[in-house]
């Protein structure tokens, strides 16, 4: 049995169809790279897996360790081992990173973490992502720079130790050194043979540092190609234009919202 199994997943946002039948299987220890042009559904897929209520599953099935993931609440998914590093992490005014993380750790464990252990954990994670420790006393993401927000996502991942990490453009906005730091933090979790991840990025650079075991290309909300690292190299060199010739899909086919189509019909 696969760890994560996505079958024919169709997803709507508002009245717009974004995912059009995604099929994907992920096993322990695998890292799946997900590439797609802007707006083709990468973030949507990750958000749906995490349970973002803005997205409506129209059809399909997702099993996580044999459990129907779509039936679980967001926090139940987190407790089951999922973690989403968001492309645009939220700001939570007045709530410090450290308070937030303590609640998150305690939510996942039977009895509350000791203060000593908590501080040690934070210290280590801050070191790993190269954030100053006093940063954890600031409100979550408030006034954080773009790169700091990304590191803060990775910091949380290190502390919460998910078994399946959904990493949405954790390299965007990072300087060259920071990309290395973030990559080595992910690789640290990979030392655990059970750890798996879906890794979304537009840049080959990240995939060189975190080598995927599988590579997928999404076009118009569908996985149209599966392969290995050579697929990333091809996109890095040639963009997505060759896709049409090779796979016969039009990457510029825009899915129109239903209401707009209706307007068009009336006119």
């Amino acid at each position: 049995m696969a760890k994560l199994s996505i079958k024919d997943l169709h997803v709507l946002v508002g009245n717009k169809k974004i995912l059009n039948g995604i099929n994907l299987e992920i096993n322990d220890g695998e890292v799946h790279a997900l590439l797609a042009p802007n707006g083709h559904g990468k973030s949507t897929l990750l958000a749906v897996l995490m349970g973002n209520p803005n997205y409506i599953v129209e059809k399909g099935e997702v099993l996580f360790n044999g459990v129907d993931l779509l039936k679980l609440s967001v926090d139940e998914r987190a407790k089951a081992g999922l973690f989403l590093a968001m492309q645009y992490p939220m700001t939570i005014p007045g709530v410090s990173v450290s308070d937030f993380l303590k609640s998150a750790i305690n939510a996942k464990s039977e009895k509350p973490i000791s203060l000593y252990k908590f501080i040690k954990t934070l210290e280590e994670a801050c070191q790993d992502v190269n954030l100053p420790l006093d940063m954890v006393h600031r409100p979550v993401n408030e006034g954080f720079s773009g790169g700091e927000k990304k590191r803060n996502e990775i910091l949380q991942m290190l502390v919460l130790k998910p078994s399946l990490a959904l990493l949405d453009e954790i390299d965007s906005g990072l300087d060259v050194d920071a990309i290395k730091i973030v990559a080595s933090a992910v690789n640290k979790l990979r030392e655990n043979p059970l750890f798996s991840a879906i890794l979304v990025s537009h840049y080959a650079r990240l995939f060189q540092l975190i080598t995927p075991t599988h590579v997928h290309i999404i076009i118009n909300g569908e996985i149209i190609a599966n392969g290995d690292f050579s697929l990333i190299e091809k996109i890095d060199k040639n963009g997505y234009d060759w896709i049409k010739a090779e796979y016969g899909v039009d990457i510029n086919k825009k899915v129109l919202p239903v209401s707009l189509e209706n307007c068009g019909v009336k006119r």
Partner: protein, 252 residues
Amino acid sequence: MVNYDQNGSYIHKLSQGDLRIDTNLLITLTLVFDVFDTQIKIDLKENSSLIVYYVLKEIKPFNFTNVIVLEKNSNYTGYLLDLNEGDSNIIIEIKQKSLSNASFYSGIIADKNDKKILETKFYNEENNSVSYQQNYGIVRNNASLFIKGLGKIEKGAFNSNNRQDSRLIIFDENSKGKIEPLLFIDENEVQASHSSALGRINEDQIFYLQSRGLSKEEAKKTIIKGFLAPLLSRINNYEINLVLKEKLNYEF
């Protein structure tokens, strides 16, 4: 009538009555309420200073009127948290003589069908009196909260300053929140301002917190705590801390 004639911190269980703070004193009062209807009047004599923590126990409905008279050069700071279940109607009325200084801070949660009203009335009766109020409100689960802030600067109260700042977050469609600031100014040389912010809860924040393992209710409480943080960071009072711990799981 309770007369305070020595500096210090006092805890008082109150139903009705008048309090008087003698001249030149520095007093901290923790007022614990355990009856439904309470009217109290506080007189601050010249040059006195008073900090009041209003601590509400489980009483519903709660009707409370507090009239505070600040004589010349006196100072009042009030902190009120109403995290109780049940309706409440709170009136704070402040009358200020010259050179007096009054600040009032409140945090009110209206939950589960509660109907709550906070009405503040600040009268700058004489010159150089300064008033400030800051109110934080949270409305959820079919409740309503109305914050009504009156500021009146009387003729002759030149150089006075009256400011109010209120913010409300509304958690769901069925809950109602309203802020109504009213300013009346009868004197030229004064400053007065109000700011109000009324917002809805951000669902994406709840999703973010939940995605880290917090239940929906914990996520909401976390957001409430964060919203109240600027207020709570000012409060340092054992009795209030107990209430915060019980109601919001707030750690110190």
